[in-house]
Amino acid sequence: MEPTSVIGTKNKKNQVFTDPRIMMREAPRTPSFYTGSEVIKEAIRRASIDVMIAYPITPQSEAAALIGELFAEGYIGDYFRGESEFAVMSQCAGAAFGGARVFTTTAGPGTMRAMENFPMWAGARLPIQCIVTCRGINSPLSIQPDTIEISYLMQTGMLVWHAETAQDFYDWILMGYMVSEEPDVHLPLALCCDGFFVTHTKDVVDLTPTDMCLPPYDPYRSPVPCMDMECPPVRMMRDPFIMKSNYISYATHASWQQEIWAAAERSRKHTIAWLNGLIETEDIDADVLIVTSGTAVSQGREAIRLLADEGIRVGLVKIKTLRPWPEEEIKEATKHATHIIVPEFNVIGWMAKEIKATIPRSERVVAGPRVCGGMTMPPEIIVEEIKRALGVRSTTLAARG
């Protein structure tokens, strides 16, 4: 069945299955003042989701509960609360193995508890979308924003995108399914945002029409068989590879892992088309660049404005996708820069490490400023970091701290 064959027909909620390109690029948009959680709900209303499985953990609980309301209204095929994030991610896997378009959300310790599932999702080529509203994972307990969990997700084989704003979130939820369900990709997507900053603040977001929705997922475009007994139940292998200690067994496992990462690489072309590039740049001829992702980008924008007032010119690189990693784009965008400032909301500085491993002359990278454990990042501390790097005397309060 061609996935486009339903275009123009209506679902039971009277929404028209619309060509995603028309829905996302040409359809009229309505500015709406919503919290990030409400924006997730509005995107999911238009995403033709078959199964959503929820579990409470701050700060994603509100979004997960709001999607329950969509289920009660009839927009989603099935919805229930699982018993833990580990179970929820396995339930999501079961639903995706059965050919459903699946959505879920998690955060912080939940991401960590669920972690065993994520490489399994990628290995099984399940195009599940998981919203990750990042928060602290450390002890003592913290529910505040902190992006450290992203560094774990980046090694799972999933696609990992990092939204800056609620508008990113809205568009990327819908576009994310279009990318991850491509037959040559067919991988799960961890769509991350910084908890509270994006989920619990209100912003104006341009929404697509309520009466338009994505075409349904077609599981028969999957590169691996859908487990619904609608295609021949062939033997998958003559011997179970797990028990074989031989070259063919090792080669099979190795090539499959390589294939997962190759599939993530193949997502580039689709992602570039949908997201208008894996990075976004402003004034990259400047000597100093702020290069980062998430709300650290927003704070960077403020720092750039403050520095402009003082006559210091700073450019910006916003990294939208962490997997696939925009290696060439970052190299190109930073080739003129003398100082590359990487503000981050986590203690380890994973973004700075990634950038250092990507560009020539990595001593240009200033791995900071970094805040963690839920601290906010005043633009002034980015300003201070830049001035220190440039050897400019600073008089701000933060500079004396």
Partner: protein, 298 residues
């Protein structure tokens, strides 16, 4: 799945593996009264297996696959362990993902199939070992039952972790000396059949797989009740002959010894009231059909 889906194009027939050719021409997909008696005269839905010679688990697999009432529309869920060595040879779609999450996978799977095929029967059957069911996966086993998920859970109880080399498990007997129980297991065999009943299962059976006719009966009951009413649980003794010091030929006797009236695998069956009614209706219909057929003949 209609049988047409597996039909081979005549042009490609001769290059298909013989076990696939047999599946198309001699398997019992769609046969209404399929059962253990088909073994030997039809193509089984299991092709070889890599278990130890004489392993009772291999018998159990064969009987269960012969007894599934609707294999052409059944999806099985396994877990890590000896069973995961067999599933790749099974001609029914099956999922292996992680260790212990089988009832969570099955919950999501059953719901997805219900959303996608609202007017068709799609059975889901979990088949996992006792470590997966009772130890690492107990939370998800029970929660699926609490939620009244409509699928069957079958536990191959060999009373230890066989695949990793015979370590203590929750279903092991008290006092048994095993790896990780160096002075003997200190607590009783977990009473999962009773817990299953209290957790909302509508059909619970505890038995061995010494009698294929019995396996057929309980599997058919369990799948039908799960399809129509709610969760069902079968705990089947499939002794690990290797780890309890038996030879290949001794598995059957071990099961017969363990199912005697006072033993731990004496046949026990619990049927909830709605399930009892369902089975009575089914039996009445079967009787009616038989009578009608008899009348037609005479």
């Amino acid at each position: 799945m209609s049988k047409e889906r597996i039909t081979i194009s005549p042009d490609l027939y001769d290059i298909m593996p013989s076990d696939y050719q047999d599946l198309v021409s001699k398997a019992t997909y769609g046969k209404e009264d399929r059962g253990w008696k088909d073994i030997g005269t039809s193509k089984e839905l299991i092709e070889q297996h890599s278990l130890c010679a004489g392993c009772p688990e291999s018998m159990a697999f064969r009987y269960i696959l012969a007894s599934l009432p609707n294999p052409e529309d059944t999806v099985m869920v396994g877990s890590t362990g000896c069973t995961s060595l067999v599933f790749p040879m099974v001609a029914v779609h099956n999922i292996h993902s992680l260790f212990g999450n089988q009832n969570a996978i099955a919950s999501g799977l059953k719901r997805a199939l219900s959303v996608r095929f609202p007017d068709r029967i799609k059975d889901v059957v979990v088949l996992a070992g006792d470590g997966a069911t009772v130890d690492i996966g107990l939370d998800m086993t029970l929660q699926a039952w609490f939620r009244q998920e409509k699928f069957t859970t079958i536990c191959f109880d060999n009373e230890l972790y066989a695949n990793t080399g015979g370590q203590e498990s929750g279903l092991m007997q008290k006092g048994f000396v095993a790896k990780m129980a160096p002075v003997g297991k200190l607590f009783d065999k977990v009473r999962l059949p009773e817990i299953a009943r209290e957790s909302g299962c509508h059909y619970v059976v505890n038995c061995t797989v010494s009698k294929p006719s019995l396996v057929e009966k309980v599997v058919r009951n369990a799948v039908l009740i799960a399809r129509e009413i709610g969760p069902t649980y079968l705990q089947l003794y499939t002794p690990c002959i290797l780890e309890i010091g038996k030879n290949s030929m001794e598995g059957l006797q071990e099961m017969r010894d363990s199912e005697k009236p006072a033993e731990r695998f004496a046949f026990k069956e619990y049927i909830s009231e709605p399930a009892r009614q369902l089975l009575a209706e089914r039996d009445a219909k079967a009787k009616e059909k038989k009578a009608a057929a008899k009348q037609l003949v005479s």
